[in-house]
Symmetry: C2
Subunit: 224 residues, 2 copies
Amino acid sequence: MAQKIDIKKKVLSENERLAAEIRQQLKERQIATLNFVSSPGSGKTSLLEKTLHALKDELRIGLIAGDVQTENDANRLVNAGGKMVRPLVTGGSCHLDARMISRVLPEMDLEQLDLLFIENVGNLVCPSGYDLGEDMKVVLISTTEGDDKPLKYPSMFRRSSVMVINKIDLLSTSDFSVERVKQNALSINANLRIFETSCRSGTGLDLWYDWLQSLVKTEKVHRD
Amino acid sequence: MAQKIDIKKKVLSENERLAAEIRQQLKERQIATLNFVSSPGSGKTSLLEKTLHALKDELRIGLIAGDVQTENDANRLVNAGGKMVRPLVTGGSCHLDARMISRVLPEMDLEQLDLLFIENVGNLVCPSGYDLGEDMKVVLISTTEGDDKPLKYPSMFRRSSVMVINKIDLLSTSDFSVERVKQNALSINANLRIFETSCRSGTGLDLWYDWLQSLVKTEKVHRD
């Protein structure tokens, strides 16, 4: 068992080394990078579709769409107007890692990007342990999932900088409480920035888009 | 990397050995055992609550409630009338394994059980690789998640014997198609037994309860 732990440590430290390289590469080009994590079905792809479509004339957005199998998500994102979308099929792995990202990045023209989205595998546990070189993790939780999820999967909420409460249009269909989920999430991570959105009704999306634009502006100002 | 693969193989074969022991132990006592798997928030705990409550006078049901953190689910299940509920907090691990089950089983009076439910960690990837000594895996998918999930997470649907399509009362709130999810799931695993349920409206639960009862009868007949 000690041997297993040593190997795991080695894999994680190799991942951190690669992630640091990726981060530097993206920083040099002033690309703000977000790693989207959530359960399967929380609406990561829908939020990204809406965002690509809404901001396509204002920001140059690249997207790496991770999936265990199929390129369904990548295809949806191209259809939504994504100009630089790359599928990343893990072939069984439950999370993306920095090695996978470093293989895909050379296929993207980074000089042409303001913003890079990475859509992780739908999994509220494993992706939390793998730094991909992102600026921050964005965790989605949908109102159909239960408001105790931050307490049950604390690592992901602790390591995320932003929480998007999605499917806010479905609030009336369950006893999910927005106040309770916020309280639970903030008890794990008091610094979480929180958005409430519905990709179906459009609620809250303008605030989300505004924040992304300000993020890109800040990135440019910091580097100039 | 070869070393990493060897270690993983060793861990899995040790898991299989333990799972075989558990299976034999449960078979000797004619206990039908189901391992419930799904994304976080698909409704595993709700379905188990309903089931414990509905069948409490007819079947003697034991339950091991797995979670990454918190004993919330176990507490809900005790409140629903579960008489032999054991929490199993993994403390970070993304799945249950046979070793964890073999630690909890001695705390349960197996002579008093007809049926054992194991609620796995909410994760549609990792639990698929770990046999817990169950008779079968039951995979839940909720109608708020997207009907392409069987294609995107094929391993779990391939290794499950039963698929429960849950939150069927929320069908009208999305473009989820029951026909499409069935077609996708059956293309991965043609032998899946399928139920359609809503824990909120009660739709489909009677068929589910009937099947559980027949499962217990079959288990007894096979052993007598």
